[in-house]
């Protein structure tokens, strides 16, 4: 029997993620790469890499679904769906009882209210960087630390500071002030994580906080924020093994579902041309 495959590509504002699934929703390959200004047009390259990893060619893909901030710029995708719906679907595939999902990416924060695997409502932050991955990046730079070390460092805190400002610029100033007052680094970092967590908690509360709560996105890799968020929300938090992939996985699953539905109805699924091209514009 011929196996069929589905690809999901999540073109986020900072990271591009591609996942290839087989019909049993097993991951055959995945690639995560920086989107970065110069890479924006290279969605095709990331796709190619994933295909090589899976040992497949683009024609093997029964359906390619694009999602994420740059979803309209993937020329070889068959359909575009928002990252809201795709994240919800992807997260529900590994945590079927999820009720609230929080995704903190490079530039924005999303809260998703999910019931029975379906997206019911959502909140999204606006363009302000506070509370996002970008905020942590700037902070790490200010402190002369590596981004991935922040979480570990914060765990050593005994008396975290309180950061009153939610504005990135103001908060950085507060950080500098604290450091010049000889506040231990771990307390400053823990305080910043707290500030992010309470801002995010404030935002997602409109969706009602009920377990299971799942946390995804790049920032979910930071154990300090995970801890702070669990405290702010007053409930345990689940993090998938690869927190960056839920959007791409959800996209691929929705593509699979569309395909099977069409097959069941005896319809042929509409797919685009299988050409691995650069996106010619990015709006």
């Amino acid at each position: 029997m011929v196996r069929i495959y589905f690809a999901g590509i999540d073109l986020g504002s900072t990271m591009t993620k591609v996942v290839i699934l087989d019909e049993d929703e097993q991951v055959c390959a995945y690639v995560v790469n920086h989107t970065g200004a110069e890479h924006r047009r290279l969605a095709n390259k990331v796709m190619e890499e994933a295909l090589i990893q899976a040992g497949l060619c683009i024609e093997d893909m029964s359906f390619i679904m694009a999602t994420g901030y740059g979803r309209i710029n993937v020329p070889f995708a068959d359909k575009q769906i928002t990252e809201l719906t795709c994240h919800a679907r992807g997260i529900a595939s590994f945590f079927p009882n999820v009720k609230l999902a929080i995704d903190i990416g490079g530039q924005d924060v999303k809260g998703l209210k999910i019931r029975n695997g379906k997206l019911l409502d959502f909140v999204m932050s606006d363009k302000c960087a506070a509370g996002t991955g970008r905020f942590l990046e700037v902070t790490a730079e200010t402190l002369g630390l590596k981004l991935e070390d922040l979480g570990r460092i914060s765990l050593g805190s005994t008396q975290k500071i309180s950061v009153s400002s939610t504005c990135t610029v103001f908060a950085q100033q507060e950080v500098v002030n604290h450091l010049s007052n000889d506040v231990p680094l771990e307390d400053v970092v823990a305080g910043l994580h707290d500030a992010i967590a309470s801002r995010v908690a404030r935002m997602v509360r409109r969706l009602k906080v009920e377990p299971d709560v799942v946390f995804t996105g790049g920032v979910a890799k930071n154990i300090g924020v995970v801890k702070a968020l669990a405290e702010s929300l007053g409930c345990p938090i689940l993090v998938p093994e690869e927190p960056l992939l839920s959007g791409a996985i959800g996209a691929a699953i929705i593509g699979k579902e569309l395909t099977f539905k069409a097959l069941a109805n005896g319809e042929t699924i509409q797919t685009g041309e299988r050409r691995l091209e650069e996106a010619t514009f990015f709006k």
Binding site: T85, D108, L120, D126
Partner: protein, 390 residues
Amino acid sequence: MTSEVSKGLTRSIELYQDRSSRVKELRAEGKKVMGYLCIYPVLEMMTALDIVPYRIFGDLHEPVTEADSYMPAVNCPFLRSCLDIGLKGKYDFLDGIVTSHICDVGSTLSSIWIYALKPPFSHHIDMPHTLHETALAQEKGLLEDYKKALEGLSGKEMTSEALEAAIRVHNEQRALVRELYELKKLNPPLISGAETIQVIKAIESIPVDEGNQLLREVISEVKERSNGPQKKSSRLLVWGSIIDDTAMMEMIEGLDANVVMDDTCVGSRPYFDDVEITDDPLDGLAYHYLVDIKCSRTFRVNNYMDVHKDYMKDLEIRFSYLKDYADEWKADGVIMESVRYCDTHGYDVPGIRDYLDSIGLPSVYLEHDYTEGALAPLRTRVQGFLEIIG
């Protein structure tokens, strides 16, 4: 005079893009052209004295540079834009400005405009907020003051006959707009949300009788055409504060939805109720502008003397017209829209959401800062919403 005047939708687009073209001609012929802000400065009274009402809008595509030094950034970005282009001289041709108490910032804008731009004529109608009997009497009193001010400007008396005649033409305009909106009940609608804004903005840029002519042309053209909007999966009702640019509608209609009905002030809001012609025409006008027009700026309750309060009943009284709109125009979702820092609309958001939830109509709230850049992130919100309701 231009010899070859285009018609219908083409003419609407021309006026949408170059709003002052017609009133500048009229000024050259000696007519007075009066700027007005928001929908409350009783246009009938201007028309009765042969003064051409010309609505003041902002410009979403023009970055605010001049207004900053007059009004802090934490204020209605629409009004800041109006002020900004005013300060850049784009409204200098007007014979004056009439403002009203739409909201706090609207009133403040009026003083700033007068201080900074020194218009040859200005008048502010400080409208009451409630539907109390006293408020209605007050509104009428304010219209009497306004009448005197306009008479002083034009040197003519505003007779009851002239005012009644003006009410009739404006009512005719209202009827024509409603007729146009009837064409949005079809699936697909015969005219898009973006085109509707173009038409409304066009008629608010020319004298009322010319506007009526334009509306007739648009209606017959739209009925006949074959290149109207495509059929989409969702039909949306848009509620909110001002949307005076097509960009947002274009964004929404570029997705899998048609905007079939609106409750916004460059849309149905000023046109859906007629002015009753009363013995003293000012009574009917006061009633219309205070009671009929349903904008968040006004405090509504069923019966203000009633000492019993029931939240759901209260919501129904305030917002059931939205249900009627959704039923009649077969809308399956509601977009609540507001510019950031709009207090009057902002306080209504939780209540409207409760009401729409209670009748099972899904909704999403979009807040934006009246810039082009604000639209891209909104697209994901709208598309996500459509995916939920689709």
